[in-house]
C-alpha cells in the first residue's frame, strides 16, 4: 500500500539518510517506537544507503591508519547494553534476549520507578511485608506486559502538558501506563485513567501523584478489550464512576497488535 504524503511512514526514506532535523525527528521517532514495520523498512533502506557510502570510498592517507589504531588502543570500550538488575530480579522472564530496542530502553526508565516503589514499600515499617508482597505482584504484572511477544508501545502528549506512555499487550489483556511531567493539579483534583470501549467507559484507576522527577506510575491496567481506547480526565481526587470532564488525552489502542 502506498502511503499518502501526510503519512508519517513517508519520512522513512529521509530518516534512513539522516535527513530529518528536529522537531520532525522526535515526532517520527515517537511513531517509530510503535511501528515495527517502519523499523524493519528503515533497516532495509540503511543497507541501501550503506552501499551509497561504500561507493564513495576514498583511500585514507597512510598516517591515518596508525593514528586511529593508536587512539583505539588507548580508548576504553563500552560494555554491551544490559537489562538493569531491579527488573531482572522482579521477573526471571525478563531476560536480555527478550528485550530489544525500545523495550530495553523502557525497562531502563521503568526500572527507576520500580526501585522507587520498592523503597517506598520498605519505609512503611509495620506494613512492610504486606507492601513488599504487593510490590512484587505489581512488578510481576509490569514484567508480564513488557515481555509479552505482542507488546506495543505508544507515546502521546497530554493536552494540558506532559506525556503518557502505554505499553499494551492484547495477549495479556493488559497495559502498563506511565505518565511524565503532567501538569500539577490542586489537592482536590486527580487524574483518572479510563478504558473507553464501544460499551462505555470503565475507570482504570487514579494516577498516583508523581513524586519522582515528574514520573507517575507504572500502573498496570488489566481487563483490556478489543476496540478500547485509553483516556485521561481530571476528576475530584476521590475519582468518579464516569468521566465528568473532557479527556486531556485519548489514545486509540485499536489495531495495535
Amino acid at each position: 500500500m502506498r502511503p499518502r504524503p501526510s503519512d508519517p511512514h513517508t519520512l522513512a526514506g529521509a530518516y534512513a539518510m539522516d535527513a530529518v532535523a528536529e522537531p520532525d525527528r522526535a515526532r517520527f521517532e515517537r511513531h517509530l517506537a510503535g511501528c515495527e514495520s517502519c523499523r524493519q523498512e528503515i533497516r532495509g533502506l540503511r543497507e541501501a544507503t550503506a552501499a551509497l557510502g561504500s561507493a564513495a570510498a576514498v583511500q585514507p592517507p597512510a598516517a591515518f591508519r596508525e593514528a586511529v589504531l593508536r587512539r583505539a588502543a588507548r580508548t576504553r570500550q563500552l560494555p554491551p547494553a544490559v537489562t538493569p538488575a531491579p527488573v531482572a530480579r522482579a521477573d526471571g522472564r525478563l531476560g536480555r534476549s527478550l528485550l530489544h530496542g525500545w523495550r530495553a530502553r523502557l525497562v531502563v526508565s521503568l526500572a527507576g520507578a520500580l526501585a522507587a516503589v520498592a523503597v517506598a514499600g520498605a519505609v512503611v515499617g509495620y506494613r512492610m511485608q504486606h507492601n513488599l508482597d504487593q510490590v512484587q505482584q505489581h512488578d510481576h504484572a509490569v514484567a508480564a506486559v513488557l515481555s509479552a511477544p505482542d507488546a506495543t508501545m505508544l507515546t502521546a502528549p497530554v493536552a494540558t502538558g506532559g506525556t503518557v506512555t502505554v505499553v499494551m499487550s492484547h495477549r495479556e489483556r493488559a497495559l502498563v501506563f506511565t505518565a511524565a511531567d503532567l501538569h500539577l493539579l490542586p489537592a482536590a483534583q486527580s487524574y483518572e485513567v479510563w478504558l473507553i470501549g464501544p460499551a462505555g467507559s470503565r475507570s482504570a484507576g487514579m494516577v498516583p501523584a508523581s513524586s519522582r522527577g515528574g514520573m507517575a506510575g507504572p500502573m498496570v491496567i488489566s481487563g483490556l478489550r478489543a476496540g478500547d481506547s485509553v483516556g485521561l480526565t481530571v476528576e475530584p481526587s476521590g475519582g468518579s464512576p464516569h468521566p465528568t470532564s473532557p479527556p486531556v488525552l485519548m489514545v486509540s489502542l485499536a489495531g495495535q497488535h
Binding site: V20, S54, A55, A57, V58, R65
Partner: protein, 211 residues
C-alpha cells in the same frame, strides 16, 4: 573540495593486506557481511587484531562518506577518525538482528558527518544558502559521481527517476535535510519525502540488499 584525494583510485592499502584490497559493497555477498560482523564481535571483546581487520575493511568507505558530506579534507579526517573510534568503543552495541555490520558502521559514519555540518553551520546561515540556492547541486553530485567506484551502485542510481536520484543524492551525499532538499530543488516538501522513500526502496531492490 577534496580534489586529489577524492579522485584517488589507488586501491593498494598501505598495510598490503590482501583481503582488504578486495573490499566490496555490503549486500548480497552475505559471507562478506557476516565476516565483518564476526570481526566486530571479536572487537567487542577487545581484540586489537580484529579491529585492524575491521579498519582495513571499512576505513575507506567511512572516510569517503564523511568527505562527501563534510567536504573539507582535514575536518573529514577528524570526523572519520571519531567514527572509527566509535566502532572500537561501541562494538559491543552492534546487534546483528538489526542489520548488517557494514550498515551499522556506515550509519555511524553518516550520522557523525551530518552532525558535524549541521552543528557547524548556524541554522540561519544555512537557510540563507538554501534559499538562495548558493550551493549548486550539480557540483555536489558531480564530485560524488566522479568517485563512484562501484558500477552496481551507479547503475542502480541510474534506474531512479531524476527527482528521486536528486533527492537521494542531495540528502545522502550532500547531508541536507529533506526540507532543505525541497528548497534546493524547488519542489514541495511532501514530494521530496515520498521521492526519497521511493528512491531508496528502488535502490534497495536494485542492489538486492535488505535488512
Amino acid at each position: 573540495m577534496a580534489e586529489g584525494r577524492g579522485r584517488s583510485r589507488d586501491r593498494a592499502p598501505e598495510g598490503a593486506d590482501g583481503a582488504a584490497g578486495q573490499r566490496e559493497a555490503p549486500g548480497p555477498g552475505a559471507g562478506r557481511a557476516d565476516e565483518l560482523g564476526v570481526l566486530l564481535a571479536r572487537v567487542a571483546r577487545g581484540d586489537q587484531a580484529a579491529y585492524e581487520a575491521v579498519y582495513d575493511r571499512t576505513a575507506d568507505r567511512v572516510l569517503g562518506t564523511v568527505l562527501a558530506v563534510v567536504r573539507d579534507p582535514a575536518q573529514s579526517e577528524e570526523v572519520a577518525q571519531e567514527v572509527l573510534l566509535d566502532v572500537w568503543r561501541s562494538a559491543a552495541r552492534f546487534d546483528p538482528n538489526l542489520g548488517s555490520a557494514a550498515a551499522w558502521v556506515m550509519t555511524l559514519a553518516h550520522r557523525r558527518a551530518v552532525d558535524r555540518v549541521r552543528s557547524e553551520q548556524k541554522a540561519a546561515e544555512r537557510q540563507i544558502r538554501v534559499a538562495t540556492s548558493e550551493i549548486a547541486y550539480d557540483e555536489v553530485t558531480e564530485a560524488v559521481e566522479a568517485r563512484l567506484e562501484q558500477e552496481r551502485v551507479r547503475r542502480c542510481l541510474g534506474s531512479l527517476t531524476e527527482l528521486q536520484r536528486e533527492s537521494v543524492t542531495l540528502a545522502y551525499y550532500g547531508g541536507y535535510t529533506y526540507r532543505e532538499v525541497a528548497g534546493l530543488l524547488g519542489v514541495a516538501v511532501g514530494t521530496v519525502k515520498t521521492r526519497m522513500r521511493d528512491g531508496l526502496i528502488r535502490l534497495r531492490d536494485c542492489l538486492g540488499v535488505d535488512g
